[in-house]
């Protein structure tokens, strides 16, 4: 089932949580709402679920205006950040809750509820833990129970608020992959909120980047990562270096060095800011042309599979470069030595407008 958000605005007192947000989620997709805290992503999710009213605009579920329906009638599955499991019920009763509160006419009989619950427990690989209470479960297990509970009523839409936010790094990794696989199996339209760009890039079919109550970009993970629409998205998705340079005669310059750009430059001359990802800078001892910036090595730090090199370039700005370990070993950089940094794919923005 598809979700359409049309010109939705929401204020909490003086705080504008959402400003004129429009969005459409096609049926069967897994979409990430990505943004920093306070960007309005959770509010948007709660509005879709009917847990929050809108000040303006409307939400369409499957092409039908959802505003007359409250959370109970919308048939959306919602997985809360802290799971909101019923702690006085065991796993079985938690998952069965949605079925057992159905009106008598549509309520399945005891046996049908039982088989449905165990089918779901099997899906989340927790059949053997059916009689445990939430307090006896690990974080990852609670998360899976919360998901099974939401799925039990066969929701038309599945909404997840920071589904992995409260978990250990390792469990988070596993659950991410598991959620992706689960979605590939059951194909229910899903929206999840996250502030973790890696999570969004790895799990989602589409990413909606939000900032200050507005949608700033939406697209597939590679579109959003490779072609950020503005400096905010560039900065938010992945690590980035800034150059304060100039545009002269349509050419980007940094201290007399011409910089290569990923998008052809158009527009007027003047000061501009260049953005380049930390892995898009090459370091060499012998320059390879006019696009080199001289820099001094300030520090070399091994971070897991990567080696992070801190540089100070001739323009007086810090640069952070991520090298693969192989490359770093070949280079064997020493602190204090002079090197050449060659950035690739630099993007220039002037006053927040892309050139």
């Amino acid at each position: 089932m598809s979700i359409e958000i049309e010109n939705v605005s929401k204020r909490f007192g003086a705080f504008a949580a959402l400003e004129d947000v429009s969005l459409s989620v096609p049926s069967g997709e897994l979409v990430a709402l990505l943004g920093p805290s306070g960007s309005g992503k959770t509010t948007l999710l709660r509005i879709i679920a009917g847990l929050e009213s809108v000040d303006d605009g409307r939400v369409l579920l499957n092409g039908e205006d959802a505003s007359p329906h409250d959370a109970r009638q919308r048939k959306v599955g919602f997985v809360f950040q802290h799971y909101a499991l019923f702690r006085h019920m065991n796993v079985f009763d938690n998952v069965a809750f949605g079925l057992s509160v159905k009106p008598k006419k549509t309520r399945p009989d005891k046996e049908a509820i039982r088989s449905k619950v165990f089918e779901l427990l099997k899906l989340i690989q927790m059949e053997h833990l059916w009689d445990r209470y939430p307090s006896q479960l690990s974080g990852g297990q609670r998360q899976r129970v919360a998901l099974a509970r939401a799925l039990a009523v066969e929701p038309r839409v599945l909404l997840l608020d920071e589904p992995f936010g409260a978990l250990d790094a390792k469990v988070r990794q596993e659950l991410r992959r598991w959620l992706r696989q689960l979605h590939d199996e059951i194909h229910v339209t899903s929206v999840f909120v996250t502030h973790d760009q890696e999570e969004a890039l790895e799990v989602a079919d589409r990413i909606v980047v939000m900032n200050r109550g507005k949608v700033v970009q939406e697209g597939t993970p590679s579109e959003v990562y490779d072609h950020p629409a503005n400096p905010f998205v560039f900065d938010f998705l992945g690590k980035v270096n800034l150059f304060h340079g100039r545009i002269d005669n349509g050419v980007a310059q940094l201290g007399g060095v011409r910089l290569p750009t990923s998008v052809p430059i158009s527009g007027g001359d003047g000061p501009a800011i260049g953005y380049v990802r930390t892995h898009d800078i090459e370091i060499s001892r012998h320059g390879n042309g006019i696009e080199d910036i001289t820099a001094q090595v300030r520090g070399v730090l091994r971070v897991g599979p990567l080696v992070r090199v801190d540089l100070l370039h001739a323009g007086g700005e810090q640069l952070e470069v991520d090298l693969s370990r192989d490359v770093a070993e070949v280079l064997a950089l020493q602190v204090g030595e002079q090197v050449f940094a060659s950035p690739r794919n630099v993007r220039f923005f002037v006053n927040d407008y892309q050139i």
Partner: protein, 282 residues
């Protein structure tokens, strides 16, 4: 210093100074103020023969006083449980003018000396009092009847359920209700199957506290009860009556029964507290 802290850091002993003297003083006060006086009750009762003891605690007038006291206390605590849930719910969940003032006033029965409460209630429900004037022509007699005892007990037990349930409702995770709503539960189902079970231990705790307080209460009841033997005489009053007649043995015997019941209520409360934490994080 840091090393010695680390060495002892995980143990309860020895990390902070002053355990031995403070513990000593605490135990000393406890023994002198509480334990020795209370134990005299048992020693005094032990000087009675079994038959004397039974004769004192199971005389018809005494049995009647238990019936009045425990019966009224039970009814009053039930009244408190019911009204306390409504009051706590209203104070936490709704906003209306006068809410803060009422919230602060809920503790009045704690703060108001019991004798003051007693004469005031008796005054209101006496035949020329504010409510007595209205109720008596209708045939409802409150003052100087067991109904008056119940009423006074409801008054002094009023804060207990409200104050035990209130924090539970205040800290109630609204998301749990939202989750139940998303799963299709209607308002009544959410209350009866999710909210109420989670606040029930607090209701029960408040109920028990109100019951215990009502059973032992004296000051606010004697003025309104009428104190007719066999009809509206409460057990604490009977103890005083026996004492005034220099029947120390009889007073002691009845007091032992009351004390044992207090202990049992206390035990029940402790078990209740454990039980109410059974779903908590481990």
């Amino acid at each position: 210093m840091a090393r010695s802290l680390r060495k002892n850091g995980t143990a309860g002993w020895g990390t902070l100074p002053g355990f031995a003297p403070t513990m000593g003083y605490t135990l000393l006060c406890l023994v002198i103020v509480v334990l020795v006086p209370l134990s005299t009750l048992f020693f005094e009762a032990a000087t009675l023969t079994w038959d004397d003891f039974v004769g004192a605690v199971a005389a018809p007038r005494v049995l009647a006083s238990y019936r009045v006291t425990f019966g009224a206390a039970l009814l009053a605590a039930l009244t408190n449980a019911f009204s306390g849930v409504i009051v706590a719910w209203t104070l936490v969940r709704y906003r209306f003018p006068g809410r803060r003032m009422l919230d602060a006033l809920v503790d009045l029965p704690f703060a108001l000396p019991t004798a003051v409460a007693g004469i005031t209630l008796a005054g209101i429900f006496a035949s020329n009092g504010w409510l007595g004037k209205v109720l008596e022509p209708l045939g409802v007699k409150v003052a100087f009847t067991p109904v008056g005892i119940w009423l006074a007990m409801v008054f002094i037990g009023l804060p207990f359920v409200v104050r035990t349930v209130q924090p539970v409702l205040e800290e109630f995770d609204r998301e749990v209700e939202e989750a139940a709503a998303c799963l299709g539960g209607n308002r009544w189902q959410i209350f009866s199957r999710v909210v109420f079970p989670l606040m029930f231990p607090a209701v029960l705790t408040g109920f028990t506290l109100a019951f215990a307080r009502a059973v032992g209460e004296y000051g606010s009841i004697v003025f309104i009860a009428g104190n007719m033997p066999m009809v509206s005489e409460i057990t604490p009053l009977l103890i005083i009556t026996k004492l005034e007649q220099y029947d120390y043995a009889g007073a002691t015997a009845v007091a032992v029964v009351m004390l044992v019941i207090s202990f049992m209520v206390l035990l029940a409360l402790n078990l209740l507290q454990k039980w109410s934490r059974r779903y908590a994080e481990q």
